[in-house]
Amino acid sequence: MYRQADVVYLYDSSWQGFLCCVFEAFFRREEPFVICPARGFSPTLYESRFIDTDPEKADRVDRSIDEKLGPRARELVSLAFLNGSEGKELALLRFLRFAYPRGRRAPWFLGSEAVAPVLALEKAVTGEAHLLKGFLRFQEYDGLLAARITPKHYVLPLLRGHFCSRFPEENFLICDVTHRAVLLYRDHAASYLELEGEFQLPPVGEEEARLQRAWKRFYETLTIQARENPRCRMTHCPKRYWENMTELQHLV
């Protein structure tokens, strides 16, 4: 059995760091009040404890996921960890605590209190990645395609495969402003970079501006006035994506 502990776990917000928090919680047989990244943490009334990232401990937990819980649990946990909402760590810890005694069947307890929240975390991530595959907009600068996105979740790893397969002969970069990360695809190779300082897309050239005008014109032409339904548009294409979409920017 584990006990409810009045303690806050702080970690370095990396996957390995999180695994060490899991190790700590299992080792001490306790469930912390909350687990959160050390950066940007403001002290609370609860005692806080910084959990050092120890590659050896992290590796032990990491391997146990594959060995004891199987591929679906691995996929579920790694996708859910990309979620940007607060409290994901605790949901994941509860899932793992539920999962180890049950083994490979664990992810299929779809209605369970421990599993459903993690499924929801995963769905939010894959859902946003799917939307961005459509809503992301490139602008061309002398043969380089550049895009700016502001997603809630860290979806770059999920966009990588899609866009690299789609544009094998192009050079492009996708800049995730929220998580300060850049995906760069150049000369048939993709890499991640860290973003430093502010990022705004520079103004575009003549030819690019002409194409953007044509696209906006096309977009506006498609609307059938007799069926206008702005609420329906907002349901399908939430407003938070508009600021980065060529045809909707001016409406924000």
């Binding site: 307890f109 002969e169 096309f218 498609l222 339904n229 329906c232 548009r233």
Partner: protein, 446 residues
């Protein structure tokens, strides 16, 4: 003419085509080419009327030799006209695609000179796109009724999805409104496409590099509300099309009056959007819920209930078949419960292997208990034995039909609500009033 101008003219003429799906083809990228396809499809933006844009939907030309009464591009309509060249179209598609504006191209056309001539133009544009630009993205092409089978075959080898519009739900209506088109000329290419697809599947089984014929299948579209067919007739036709021609989708388009004509609804008649919505709901029941058209609508009630979706309506008429035991029922039975969809049905089947499910589990799985609670039983809940009829009716009524949560009159509200609002009652009040009446009426019927 400036390209932007041309694009606007040809997009304006194409916008009444409903289909804009990019689903059904799965094709990875390849070095030296551009583009891929993902099976679920992908929406790239949404217009102000809430419709998805995933393809560059344009006509090759809107210069038409035909004079169909319901169509904006008919010969006798005074309209700016334009035509693309194959190079212009291919180039524009690639430029839009590179910027991730679109998932591919939807190419349709008015009948320029003759059906065969038009098809040849379309084929040359698509050949350029596929071969010279090495485009591997999605292409939806519309076969022109009356063109030769050889051209349809060539088009199918270039496109992912083909479609032939059936236009109107009956031969009589077609004769009245589209004198240049005949039912046979529409159904022949459809039959050919279905046969070629079957043959292609056999070829692919023998030799996996065989050229693929329209891998995403075919679809069609018909106009609803321009002619007097009942919902039942339309739904039977739809089911027939799915069974006989193995279509992937049938689209419905609420008729928007574009011309003053004694044979058509008057100008400024609001488009029957609620009816279109109900038809799509029934279409979903055919494709994903194992219903047949005969079960959904019969001769006694040939039209949909405006206040309730067809699945709830069916459940109310067959109240004796419920409650369904969630922990024992098969998938088909589960799918008949209002509030359980294909996804939650599948999840229930998986989850119950690990222990009996109760109400909290069902809620977490995603079942809509507001509706489902009257139709199921599970662990710790033996179903509501004698539910108050009014409560059931209230739970099942479709809020959209009553303008709920909306001060302005919604285009989707029921005809009764629109009528009351037309007489000067505030839309919200009109909705409430009609809803109370509907609740009582349904409670009496049960």
């Amino acid at each position: 003419m400036e390209l932007e101008e041309k694009l606007a003219i040809l997009a304006d003429s194409a916008k009444y085509d409903v289909a804009c799906t990019s689903s059904g083809s799965d094709r990875g990228g390849q070095a030296g080419s551009i583009g891929n396809c993902q099976a679920p499809g992908c929406c790239h933006t949404f217009t102000a009327d809430g419709r998805c844009v995933s393809l560059l939907k344009v006509l090759y030309t809107n210069i038409c030799a035909y004079d169909c009464r319901y169509c904006v591009n008919r010969r006798s309509n005074d309209l700016p006209r334009a035509a693309f060249t194959p190079r212009e179209l291919a180039d524009l598609t690639i430029q839009f695609y590179r910027r991730n504006y679109i998932e591919g191209l939807f190419l349709s056309s008015a009948v320029l000179v003759s059906p065969d001539y038009t098809m040849e133009q379309m084929i040359s544009a698509l050949t350029l796109l596929r071969e010279e630009y090495r485009f591997r993205g999605y292409i939806h092409a519309k076969a022109i009724p009356g063109s030769s089978p050889e051209l349809v075959r060539r088009l199918g080898l270039l496109a992912d999805r083909l479609s032939v519009n059936i236009e109107l739900p009956s031969e009589a209506s077609l004769g009245l409104l589209a004198p240049d088109k005949s039912r046979a000329a529409i159904l022949r290419p459809m039959g050919q496409i279905a046969a070629s697809a079957t043959q292609n599947r056999q070829e692919l089984a023998l030799y996996r590099h065989a050229p693929r014929f329209a891998p995403a299948g075919q679809s069609t579209q018909m106009i609803v509300g321009a002619t007097p067919e009942s919902d039942r007739q339309i739904l039977h036709l739809t089911q027939g099309l799915y069974r006989k021609y193995s279509l992937k989708r049938v689209f419905f388009s609420a008729y928007i009056p574009v011309v003053e004509d004694s044979r058509l609804p008057a100008l400024y008649t609001p488009p029957p959007l609620l009816r279109e919505h109900r038809l799509y709901q029934a279409d979903w029941m055919l494709r994903y819920y194992h219903f047949s058209a005969e079960e959904i609508l019969d001769e006694d009630c040939p039209n949909f209930d405006p206040y309730m979706d067809p699945k709830c309506h069916w459940a109310l008429r067959h109240f004796d078949r419920f409650p369904v035991d969630v922990n024992r029922a098969g998938e088909e039975e589960l799918l008949r419960v209002p509030g359980i969809g294909p996804r939650s049905a599948r999840r229930i089947l998986i989850a119950r292997k690990n222990g009996a499910l109760g109400l909290p589990e069902l809620k977490r799985i995603g079942v809509v208990l507001k509706r489902a609670q009257y139709f199921l039983c599970c662990r710790g809940y033996s179903g509501s034995r004698s539910p108050r009829r009014e409560l059931v009716a209230r739970a099942l009524l479709d809020p959209e039909a009553f303008n709920e949560g909306c001060e302005q009159l919604s285009l989707f509200s029921a005809p009764q609500v629109q009528q009351l609002a037309g007489q000067g009652v505030a839309p919200r009040l009109a909705g409430l009033q009609v809803k109370e009446e509907a609740v009582k009426c349904i409670a009496r019927q049960m």
